[in-house]
């Protein structure tokens, strides 16, 4: 049994990808283009240069013991040794060098695991609740739908170049354990007149601009899942915003078109195919049961620890005699030794015995009661899990944070550990709140799912006397449920260092009240007491000592250095660049309109001036898409000539306009009116046909060239600390020479002469110093190549 079938064309695609990797290693393929290829194969560069993370698809969160073992094998052979479980119920292998990427991908494919679509603008991992098919409250098992839909969609060519990623979740009932209203497209199982089907939600999503999904269809028969998903995919492909990565997700399309507009274009696609039974998914049989023979002698355990473990982590399935087991992983990591022990054990229980859950934990299923003792012995013996803690501890969710993520402000992994340590020193009865969701993200993006938390935190920068310290916003009270989803609301903020104490104090009150049965549920508690409590605790814990008094407050949990500005917001520059593009576009429109108004009585100079302006803005408008920033009027023309005319993006016939525009020769403008207006039109058309990867397309839709735009959130890092002047500049310059215009380079420089000289020298060569940030005795200097 497999949870999906990798695409049949994958092998030939991998040959191409292997050639791309080779070309990248030899320098023939530039890093920006390579990035586009590798991300689609689930290969991400980590914050450490030349180190990659590979994300592996696990449809319905499922993976077989054989597959998990192979993932651990490749992690051990080519990566950090750990298999990392994500909040999207899939796994990742970290710290893989470029040479290891291809072997990892091919060895995984040999056991039916695909990394294709792990990243990029495509159908991402399709999720179901980790207990789908085994929970007594299921309307029906949704795993077969997620599995069949995955196999279908990853075989389709038009799944790979969407405006942005498209996420699909299934829930087994209206309690909506898969948060279908917090994702692009959600299916909630229901029955209507004895017919299996789904309620369909669209346009939800968390992120920095969270939106709750809307009911698209109150009921579709279960045979129409693919038809709806296909219609959504096609309409998203046609209408999604490909230009701004900040508003490219499906939720923004709903926002832009509003309900009626969105439904119109949905039905336009859906009505075309909804009657076509040949499109029905072919559902696999997912058998939830134990193998008939288990070649393992049952072990009987009777200790108190075993009983406590069962209470915390073992739940009976709806299948009599079978159990699910949760294995709480520390920060989602399964180390090599533990993976070996677990997969050895699980190999006796068939292919359908593992799921990943959204709290980065492992779930086992279909374990017969007689083998719970065996399971306990194995799991309790694992070296790096939280199995001896209350379930609450392993349920805490945190994103990876600034350790590896370029957007991170704070380090939630460190915070999570600090909270765990603080709570383990108390007598709080955490077993009273096994399902409590304490979720934290390092920044306003929602990788740590703080929007759907009972108590959530997301990172921010605090300031005291001009010094920055790590801090978090405090949120609480998310509601989950099909049609009733509500995100957590913000009630205050805290310095990071007070959060463990805050959590302790808050939970103490809540646990006491819960055990006393004072309030009907958590939401009632929040309304009547909890919110006020959060606010008063935020007040209690607001004072940050001055840096001189206690500098610990200024260094995040798990951080080596004080919080630094550089860590923050490097990915947010491109919005400004696009504003500039829009400005040029507007100016062209305005001056063209003015030109049309000039009548025959106008003096010759007026149209000439307007034409000169139209020419300039036309030439400058698209430079930003190639990472170019013209410092002068002349440079705009030189750049355009080189990067648009010479490259063939814009026809040669416009070349004669370049010297005229460059010299701003007013005597020649009017004679070239047609050519100038034609150029403005051409540039606009090019822009209209640009896709979200900033590739330009010809009007026929063929991609004509890939723009060499430096992605704003990637840069090479070179450490030139300990390198004296001028060799540090020499080395910086040599690295810059290998980069494309617009690409970015981060150099680490010593304080003193290096920081005083190198940035100036780099600037003298025409490059831009984006930022200079002091970090604990050295400097991080971000350079953009001219």
């Amino acid at each position: 049994m497999k949870f999906y079938e990798p695409s049949t064309v994958l092998n030939s695609e991998l040959d191409t990808f292997q050639a791309d990797i080779q070309a990248f290693i030899t320098g023939e393929l530039d890093p920006i283009k390579f990035k586009a290829f590798r991300v689609a194969h689930g290969v991400y560069e980590q914050r450490q240069p030349d180190t990659y993370m590979i994300r592996i698809r696990c449809a319905a969160g499922g993976i077989t013991p054989t597959q998990l073992r192979r993932a651990s094998d490749v992690a051990e052979a080519y990566g950090s040794g750990e298999v990392h479980f994500t909040t999207r119920q899939e796994i990742q292998v970290h710290d893989v060098r470029i040479e290891g990427v291809m072997p990892v991908i091919r060895e995984l494919l040999a056991v039916g695991l695909s990394t294709r679509g792990g990243g990029g603008n495509t159908i991402r991992n399709i999720l179901t609740p980790p207990d789908s098919g085994v929970h007594p409250d299921d309307v029906f098992d949704v795993d077969p739908y997620a599995m069949a839909l995955t196999t279908r969609m990853i075989h389709e060519d038009d799944s790979w170049n969407l405006p942005r990623k498209l996420k699909i979740n299934f829930s087994t009932n209206a309690s909506d354990q898969s948060y279908t209203q917090a994702t692009c497209l959600g299916f909630v199982a229901m029955e209507q007149n004895g017919q299996r089907g789904f309620a369909v939600y669209v346009g939800g999503g968390m992120g920095a601009k969270p939106m709750v999904g809307h009911l698209l269809l109150p009921f579709i028969p279960d045979t129409r899942v693919y038809h709806v998903a296909r219609a959504i995919k096609v309409m998203f492909d046609k209408h999604g915003n490909r230009r701004s990565k900040y508003s490219s997700r499906l939720k923004f399309l709903w926002k832009k078109l509003e309900r009626d507009g969105f439904l119109n274009i949905f039905y336009e696609e859906y009505n075309k195919i909804k009657a076509d039974d040949t499109l029905n998914l072919v559902l696999p049989t997912v058998h939830n049961g134990a193998p008939e023979t288990i070649s393992l002698p049952p072990v009987s355990v009777t200790t108190e620890a075993f009983e406590l473990w069962k209470k915390r982590y073992v739940v009976p399935q709806k299948q009599p005699g079978l159990y699910t087991i949760k294995i709480p992983l520390q920060l989602g990591d399964l180390i090599r030794e533990d993976a070996v022990a677990l997969t050895d054990f699980l190999s006796h229980f068939g292919d359908n015995c593992i799921r990943c859950d959204r709290a980065q934990n492992m779930r086992l299923r279909n374990i017969p009661e007689a083998y719970l003792g065996n399971a306990f012995t194995v799991i309790d013996g694992l070296k790096q899990t939280l199995v001896r803690h209350a379930a609450f501890v392993g349920n805490m969710i945190n994103c990876t944070g600034a350790q590896t993520c370029k957007l991170g402000i704070c380090l939630p992994r460190g915070l999570s550990t600090a909270i765990r340590n603080t709570l383990s020193d108390t007598t709080l009865d955490l077993d009273a709140i096994p399902e409590f969701r304490l979720n934290m993200s390092g920044c306003p993006n929602t990788c740590g799912m703080h929007h759907i938390a009972d108590l959530g935190f997301f990172g921010k920068v605090g300031r005291k006397d001009g010094n920055m310290y790590p801090a978090y916003n405090v949120l609480a009270g998310a509601k989950t449920g099909a049609g009733t989803t509500a995100y957590a609301e913000r009630y205050g903020e805290l310095p990071a260092h007070y959060i463990p104490a805050f959590v302790r104090d808050f939970l103490k009150v809540y646990i006491d009240d819960k055990k006393a049965g004072t309030y009907a549920d958590y939401h009632t508690f929040l309304q009547e007491k909890g919110i006020a409590l959060i606010q008063s605790l935020c007040d209690t814990y607001k004072e940050v000592p001055a840096l001189e008094e206690d500098d610990r407050f200024y260094t995040d949990f798990g951080a080596k250095n004080r919080l630094s500005l550089d860590e923050i917001g490097t990915a947010e520059c491109s919005a400004g660049l696009f504003d500039m593009l829009d400005f040029d576009k507007k100016m062209i429109k305005k001056y063209s309109a003015d030109l049309a108004k000039t009548d025959s009585e106008a003096t010759e100079s007026e149209p000439a001036t307007l034409l000169g302006l139209i020419l300039f803005h036309s030439v400058r408008m698209l430079l930003v898409t190639r990472g170019l920033d013209a410092k002068t009027h002349e440079q705009a023309f030189d750049f355009f000539d080189k990067h648009f005319i010479t490259t063939g993006l814009v026809d040669e016939r416009f070349r004669p306009l370049m010297p005229i525009g460059r010299a701003n020769d007013m005597t020649k403008m009017v004679a070239n009116t047609d050519a100038i207006l034609d150029l403005a039109k051409t540039v606009n058309a090019l822009y209209e046909n640009m896709d979200d990867s900033l590739r330009f397309k010809s009007p026929s839709g063929d991609t004509i060239i890939e723009a060499a735009v430096a992605s704003d959130d990637t840069h090479t890092v070179k450490d030139f600390r300990g390198v004296a002047c001028p060799m540090n500049f020499v080395k910086t310059k040599l690295v810059l020479e290998t980069l494309k215009t617009g690409a970015r380079l981060m150099v680490l420089l010593d304080d003193g002469a290096p920081i005083q000289n190198v940035p100036n020298s780099v600037q003298m060569e025409g490059h831009t110093i984006v930022s200079k940030t002091p970090v604990d005795g050295y400097w991080e200097v971000l350079i953009q190549k001219a």
Partner: protein, 260 residues
């Protein structure tokens, strides 16, 4: 980037220069330059090109080192007296920079071997001391479409120009060699040693700038200086359609009847 760590250090002051950089240095390492004459001009040219890391340097000269050479031919040292000049030069060049491959030709540059030798080089430096050799080099380079630097010194004076195909050649300035003995040679008139260094260094700079592709070459201009009063000037030279189709029968200077 093909520079190794030692090369990055060795050439760091070039790499720092705007217009040269690592790319320019790599061009130099890949370049092949021929120096004709291992004498007063050839000496500084050879030393600077070797120091700059020009990958392949050819050097052609049939003479041996004479004690009278040492006053200006700084690549040769007293113990070298009697050795072939090209051997002496090669030893010094490799001592400066082992990166450089030095190809020696211990022979005269003649119309018979000219085109074969030129075929292996990207740029040519004329460091000879006779008009016949200068006209031969000019014609050979024009025929082979090779850029070259002309240089000449006498007493306290120096002159130099650079030819690249399509620009003025030496014959655009001087149509024919002067009659024999109309102009005294160095051995007759003497030469101020440092003038050789000044002019050879300018020629080396031209060769390097040509390879790197930076700045404005001395094309269609003749640079003349007088080291006695230390004045420099450039004279514009118009390229003329000379139609150099082949070598002349003889490059011996015409005999001046009057002076005889």
């Amino acid at each position: 980037m093909n520079l190794n760590d030692e090369q990055v250090e060795r050439y760091s002051r070039h790499i720092i220069l705007q217009g040269v950089g690592g790319e320019g240095q790599e061009k130099l390492l890949a370049a092949k330059i021929l120096i004709i004459g291992a004498g007063g001009l050839g000496a500084p040219v050879a030393l600077y090109l070797a120091a700059a890391g020009v990958g392949t340097i050819g050097i052609i000269d049939a003479d041996v080192v004479d004690i009278s050479n040492l006053q200006r031919q700084v690549i040769h040292f007293t113990p070298d007296i009697g050795r072939p000049k090209v051997e002496s030069a090669k030893e010094k060049m490799n001592a400066i920079n082992p990166d450089v491959r030095v190809v020696t030709y211990n022979e005269l540059f003649t119309k018979n071997n000219a085109l074969d030798i030129l075929a292996n080089y990207d740029f040519v430096v004329d460091g000879t001391d006779s008009f016949s050799a200068k006209f031969l080099i000019n014609d050979a380079c024009v025929l082979a479409k090779k850029p070259f630097s002309h240089g000449g010194i006498l007493r306290f004076d120096g002159q130099t120009m650079t030819h690249v195909p399509g620009t003025a050649s030496y014959r655009c300035v001087f149509k024919e060699p002067p009659p024999a003995n109309a102009v005294p040679t160095c051995s007759q008139a003497g030469v101020f040693g440092a003038v050789a260094g000044m002019l050879g260094t300018i020629q080396a700079a031209e060769a390097i700038r040509y390879i790197v592709g930076v700045g404005e070459l001395l094309t269609n201009r003749l640079l003349i200086f007088d080291a006695l009063r230390m004045r420099f000037r450039t004279v514009r030279v118009k390229p003329s359609e000379l139609g150099i189709q082949g070598f002349r029968d003889s490059y011996d200077p015409p005999v001046c009847e009057l002076r005889r």
